[in-house]
Symmetry: C3
Subunit: 330 residues, 3 copies
C-alpha cells in the first residue's frame, strides 16, 4: 500500500506542494491536513512492521544521526529501529560521551554533525529551544525527539495515530490529559495536535502543576479529576517524573494517586468505551493502576509503542523526500 | 554448506519437527540431539567467518534487540556481530540508559520491546529468572545471554562446540570444571550440557563456593584440585569474580591461586593432551597462569571466542526459522 | 571517479606494490608518496559524501570494530559513519562497558577482537603505544584513532587533505601550529605529516608546553605567537585540554588567551589569505575567537570534519584491500 493508492491519504490542498516543512520541530505551526498527511503515511509502516520481514530501502545511502543529549531508551530505540528498517545508516550520539562535556557549544556540535553530511538529525535535549537552535545551523531535516518542556511532536503524532485507529476521526472527541501539565512536553504537543484536529481537550492536574494561562491553548482546565473525566472518550495519563515526586509540587505519591491516579473505579466516570493512554514508562500504582493499564480492550499503552516506530518511519521518509529527489518533491 | 547436505548434521528423531523450542533460555530441558543439532548448525558459520567476506542475508528485514541489563562487552559484541553478519537490523539497549532506572518494571520493558516488533530478543540480566519472565510476555524468540546465577546457554554451547572440534565426541570425556561453582551460570550451563552429552563431569572449588546438593547434577565434587585433575581430558577454569575476591568466600587471591590456580605444574596431573578452557576475561595469575593460557596447543581460550560468534549465529538462525517461514519449520 | 582514472592520483614508485603498510599506527614511517596516495584516494569519498545517496558496498561482509578506550564522540562518529557508508558491519566497543574494567589485559582484549574475526580494528586509547601493542597481536589492519600523546594519524591526514584542497600543494607552505605542543598527538602527527610533505613548520606555545628537543622534528620553535605568525599560510590552533587549564602549565585561561589565543587582530600578522584550522572541539574565547573561527573564507573548521569522514573511508578501504583480494593487492 502506498500513499497514492489509498483512499485514507488526504490530498494536498490547492496550492500546496507536498509536505511543506523542512523540519519537525513541533506540532505548533502544522496545519490539520499536514498532521493528517503524516498519520496517513504512517499506516503503510504499521502494515510493514507486522510482516515477518520488515525492510524498505528508500533511505539506503542516507545517514541518520540520533543525537541524544538526554537519555531516553524507548525513544532512541524507536528512532533507531525506524531508521534501520528504512535502510538508512543510523548512528547514535550519546550525550554521556559528548564533547559537550568538554565545553563545546551546541552550535559547534550542530555544525559538526552537518559537516559529516547527515541526511537527518534526530535530537533530544533537556533545554527547550535547543532543537530549533540546531535546526537553524544545519542543511538537513531535524526531528525533535523531545526538547525541555517545549515539544515532543512524534509522541503527539503517534498518540493521534493510536486514537484514530481506535476511535476513528479525532475531531469531536472529548479527551482528558491528566498529570504534570506544567512541565510536560508530551502534554503540550498533544494539546496542540488534538485541538488542531478538532478534539475537545480537557487538562487536569494539581494546581501546582498547571500553567497559569493554559486556557489560551484552547483547553478547559480542571483540578478535579472526576469532573474532568466525565464522559470523555480518551483518558491520556502523563508520567509523574521522579523529580516532582517529593517536595514542592506534590505532597506525596500516595496523595497524588488518591487525587490523580487512574483507578478502575474512577475510569467508570468516562465514556463506557473510553480509551486509556500513557506514553510510558508508567509508574504503576502512582498515576495509573495496573488493572487499568493492562486491559488491552481499554488501554493502548503497548499499541502506542508500536505506532511510535511506524510514525517515526513516516516522518523520516517524508522529511527526506526533497533530498532524495522523490518525484513531485523537488 | 547447508544443514541438509552435510553428514555432520544429525537427523531429526522420529516424530520431532525441526528444533522444537521457541526460546533458548537454558540448556536444561534440551535433548542430546537438540544440542548436537545446534552444534552442527554452527559449523557452517565457523566456516563463513573464516572467509574474507562474511555475510549472509537470511535475517534481512528482521530486528534483533540486545537488551543488556548487565554490562558485558564480550557477549554483547559477540551477539551484535552475529546478528549483523546474518543481515539483521541489530539494536542494543544498554541498561545504563534504561528506563528501568526510572522505575519501569521488567515486564513493561518486555512489552515495549515486543510492541516494537522485535524478531528476536537477546537478554542479559543480573537476576536469575528475569529472562524467563520476559520470554513469557513477548511473541518472538528470546535468547538468554546470562541471567543471574542461573544459566548462560550460549556459553555452554560454544564451549561444547570447541571441545567437539578439539576432542571429537563429547560422550565419555572426563571434564573438570574449577572455580566458583556456587555462583557461576557458566558452570551450571556447562554441567547440564556436558552431562547431557554423556561426559563425566567433575567440579572442584573451595567448600565455600560449592553448592550443597551438587551431586544431584550428576557430577562428582572435589575440593582438592590435584585429585580432580587426575587424568581429565578437559580442564575448564572459571573466572573468579572480583566481588568474591575478598572477604567471606576466599581468604585471599594468593591463597586461591595456591589451591585452585591452574599452573603448568598442576596441569601435568591431567591427561597429556588435556585441553585448557576459560570463558574469559581471565584473571591471569589468579585462576590461571599465563604460560598455560597462552599455549595454543593446550589452551582454547581465543578459539572459544571465535566459536561464540558462530554459535550465536546458529541460535539466531534456528530460532527465527518459524517466523521466517523456512520450509519445514511452519 | 576512481583511483586509476584521475590525474590527481600519484603513481606507485618503481618497485613498490600498492600501499605497503598493513596498519595505520602513525604518520611516522610513511613516505611522502604514501601520504599523497591516501590524500588522493580520499577525494573520491569527498565527492561521494556530497551526493544525496552516499553508499558504497566494497566493505560489505567485513566487520569493523571501533574499540574506544577513551571517549571521543567526534572521532567515533566519524569512523562509524565512514565504515557504514562503505557497507561494513560496524560495531562499537565502549571503554565504559569494557572488561578492561574487570582487569582484563589489553592483549587479551586484542586477542578477543581478533578471534571474533574483525577485518579492521580502530583504536583510541589513553596510553601511547597501546595501539601498537594491539596491532602486534591481531591478524587484521589496525587504525590508530589517537593514542596517548603519541599519534593521531587520521587527524593529520584530514588536515593535510583540507590544506591541499584550500592551498594546493603542501610543499613550501609556511604553517604555524600553536598550543600545547608537549602533550598533543594532533600536533605530533601534523608535524610529521607536514614536514614529510615539505612544508616549513613552526610550533608555538608556552615554554611549559613545549617539548625540549622539538627542533629534532625539523620545526622552528617559538614562544612568541606574533613572531610565529609572521607571513604564515596556515595557522593550526590546538585545543587547550581542560586538565591543563589550571595549575602547573598555564597561569589562567585569560592569560593563555592573551598570549596564545588567535584573535582577529593577531591573525593580521599571517599572510592575507591565511587559512585557520582547529581540530575541534574549540574552546571559543580561549585558544580561538569566534569571529576568526566562524568566517568560512578563512576558517576550515567544519571542512576539516567533512574531510575526516572521507579520509577515514579512504584508510578503511585501502587497508582492507589485501584481505578483500583487490586485484594487484595480493
Amino acid at each position: 500500500m502506498t500513499a497514492t493508492d489509498s483512499p485514507a491519504y488526504p490530498s494536498f490542498p490547492e496550492g500546496s506542494d507536498a509536505f511543506p516543512h523542512r523540519n519537525l520541530l513541533g506540532i505548533a505551526g502544522l496545519q490539520p491536513w499536514e498532521i493528517q498527511y503524516l498519520l496517513a503515511e504512517a499506516e503503510q509502516w504499521v502494515a510493514l512492521n507486522q510482516q515477518s520481514s520488515k525492510h524498505d530501502d528508500r533511505l539506503a545511502g542516507l545517514t541518520v544521526i540520533n543525537a541524544f543529549f538526554e537519555n531516553s531508551t524507548r525513544t532512541l530505540l524507536s528512532f533507531e529501529i525506524a531508521g534501520k528498517r528504512l535502510g538508512a545508516d543510523v548512528v547514535n550520539m550519546h550525550a554521556a560521551q559528548s564533547s559537550i562535556k568538554k565545553g563545546e557549544t551546541l552550535i559547534d556540535t550542530a555544525m559538526t554533525l552537518n559537516a559529516m553530511r547527515a541526511d537527518a538529525i534526530v535530537i533530544r535535549h533537556g533545554s527547550s529551544g535547543a532543537v530549533q537552535l540546531i535546526a537553524d545551523k544545519v542543511d538537513c531535516p531535524v526531528l525533535n525527539a523531545g526538547d525541555g518542556s517545549h515539544e515532543h511532536p512524534t509522541q503527539a503524532l503517534l498518540d493521534a495515530l493510536t486514537i484514530r485507529r481506535r476511535k476513528g476521526e479525532i475531531g469531536g472527541l472529548k479527551i482528558a490529559i491528566c498529570g504534570d501539565i506544567l512541565h510536560s512536553r508530551v502534554a503540550r504537543s498533544n494539546i496542540i495536535c488534538l485541538t488542531t484536529l478538532g478534539a475537545e481537550v480537557r487538562v487536569v492536574g494539581p494546581p501546582s502543576l498547571m500553567p497559569n494561562a493554559i486556557e489560551a491553548m484552547q483547553v478547559t482546565a480542571f483540578t478535579d479529576f472526576d469532573a474532568a473525566l466525565d464522559g470523555v472518550d480518551v483518558v491520556m495519563m502523563l508520567r509523574l517524573q521522579n523529580e516532582r515526586m517529593q517536595g514542592q509540587f506534590i505532597p506525596s505519591t500516595r496523595e497524588y494517586r488518591r487525587l490523580y491516579g487512574l483507578t478502575e473505579e474512577r475510569l467508570t466516570r468516562a465514556a463506557p468505551d473510553a480509551l486509556v493512554m500513557h506514553p510510558g514508562p508508567m509508574n504503576r500504582g502512582v498515576e495509573i493502576d495496573s488493572n487499568v493499564a493492562d486491559d488491552p480492550s481499554r488501554s493502548s499503552v503497548t499499541e502506542q509503542v508500536e505506532m511510535g516506530v511506524a510514525m517515526r518511519m513516516a516522518c523520516l521518509d517524508v522529511l527526506t523526500r526533497r533530498a532524495r529527489k522523490v518525484e513531485g518533491w523537488s
